[in-house]
């Protein structure tokens, strides 16, 4: 296979990987915040349910979770199997929301109680206090931890192979075994590295942008 053909094929696969990446972040980042609220809820029922959810998501392999989302509807409920790509997105979002929730929680709990008290005496209501005073400070604090997760996510997109979604690495493996060549793996490695290099640059830019306060 010509190198140009190989690159074209893997670039097509990278488009799927990128879609998984973007959609996962788009949904798991906001969902994670709500999960964090549930985890910090004063209602013990909600708190414990959410705690269990986080514990299962963090305590079992993402590969297994993807299989449950894809095969579960048929084997457990005798329903038809969902769309593969949709199953991947649901699996990734549920998993990453759990990790992000714990990062949010750590950030929110690290904010000094005095910030809430000052906002309260000044008359801010609860949502104003959170959105205007607390959350911007949380974002700054959690950014390094979020960067870690985002970089892991780039590499985790390769796990979609388990339910045969042909993202980049699935294609690389197929080509490599058909051609008896390691070149596809080398190219795949470079693709991930470049993607993550861009992620790191963007996150660093964002961190620098928030360096104006401490």
């Amino acid at each position: 296979m010509e190198l140009s053909v190989l690159l074209l094929k893997l670039t097509e696969g990278m488009w799927i990987s990128t879609k998984i990446f973007v959609l996962t972040l788009l949904f798991s980042l906001p969902l994670g915040l709500f999960v964090a609220f549930g985890r910090m809820s004063k209602n013990p029922f909600i708190m414990n349910i959410v705690k269990l959810y986080i514990s299962v998501m963090r305590g079992t392999p993402l590969v297994l979770q993807l299989m449950v989302v894809y095969y579960g509807p048929y084997f457990i409920f005798k329903l038809s199997t969902p769309d593969r790509f949709l199953a991947v997105i649901i699996g990734f979002v549920l998993n990453y929301a759990a990790y992000f929730a714990e990062i949010y929680r750590g950030g929110i709990e690290s904010i000094d109680i005095g910030q809430y008290e000052a906002a309260r005496v000044l008359g801010y209501n609860k949502s104003q206090t959170f959105l205007k005073i607390i959350f911007p400070q949380v974002v700054k604090r959690i950014l390094p931890a979020v960067t870690n997760e985002v970089i892991t996510l780039v590499k985790d997109t390769s796990l979609a192979f388990v339910i045969s979604v042909s993202e980049m690495f699935t294609l690389a493996k197929a080509i490599a075994s058909a051609q008896r060549s390691v070149l596809p793996y080398v190219v795949a490695g470079i693709f991930y590295y470049v993607f993550n290099f861009i992620v790191a640059v963007v996150m660093e830019w964002w961190e620098n942008k928030l360096a104006y306060f401490s």
Partner: protein, 254 residues
């Protein structure tokens, strides 16, 4: 004289331990009241109950004749309805020991944001008022700075400007100089003295006995959760009647 603040029979305990035991006090328009007492005497808790950062166990809290907190016949406290409570809360401001400025806001935004967000004031007017207050605090050249770039004394002056921006009837200070380096204490005390000269109604919890004597019209000495002695400074500090007051004040004499 208009009664700006009245507290009746305030009780507060934490985990069964009585911190405030039947405190009653009044603050009139233009009065400066200093609350002094040893650590753990309950003076900060009193301030936190008065500003509703803590909820009292029983008693009454009244601002300008309006009840924020009352105690029902069953002995349980009753809060004013939310609308009324918000109105009452706009009657007072609080200056914290640790400033509690918003680190992600510039100095000017710290002073003006509540005006715009909470009081829905016109932005241009708010900024104008904010700059006026910063000038008053001798911080006019710092409006674009962020809190971490300022000294403790400057931060505390920003937090005083922030409280004043909302035009409170009563301004509380919770040990406003305790977190400051000794050489910065004077500038904050001077600001408070200037406010007293403008007849700002203030309630100040402080360790600065000399300052309390100079600035306050009325001194309240608290120990063990009760008001041990109160009156004009020349009596409470100049000629204390109670042995506990005398023992406390002796520690401040050189």
């Amino acid at each position: 004289m208009v009664k700006y603040l009245e507290i009746r029979n305030l009780r507060k305990s934490f985990g069964g331990l009585g911190v405030l035991k039947d405190i009653s006090l009044k603050v009139e328009e233009g009065q400066v009241v200093a609350i002094i007492g040893p650590s753990g005497s309950g003076k900060s808790t009193l301030l936190r109950c008065a500003t509703m950062l803590e909820t009292m166990d029983s008693g009454e809290l009244i601002y300008l004749g309006e009840n924020a907190v009352t105690t029902g016949d069953d002995g349980k406290i009753v809060l004013a309805p939310p609308r009324k409570l918000r109105k009452i809360q706009s009657y007072y401001g609080l200056v914290f020991q640790n400033f509690n400025l918003f680190p992600h806001y510039s100095v000017l935004k710290n002073v003006t944001d509540a005006l715009i967000t909470v009081q829905k004031k016109n932005k241009i007017e708010a900024l104008e008022l904010g700059r006026e207050l910063l000038q008053k605090m001798a911080l006019e050249d710092k409006e674009d700075a962020y809190p971490h770039q300022l000294s403790g004394g400057q931060q505390q002056r920003v937090s005083i400007a922030r409280a004043l921006a909302l035009n409170p009837k009563v301004l509380f200070f919770d040990e406003p100089t305790s977190a400051l380096d000794p050489e910065l204490i004077g500038e904050i005390l001077q600001v408070i003295k200037d406010l007293a000269a403008e007849r700002m109604t203030m309630v100040i919890v402080t360790h600065e006995i000399t300052f309390a004597r100079d600035v306050a019209d009325h001194i309240i000495f608290i120990d063990g959760g009760v008001i041990v002695e109160e009156g004009p400074p020349e009596e409470v500090i100049g000629n204390p009647q109670n042995e506990r007051t005398r023992a406390f004040l002796r520690r401040f004499e050189g």
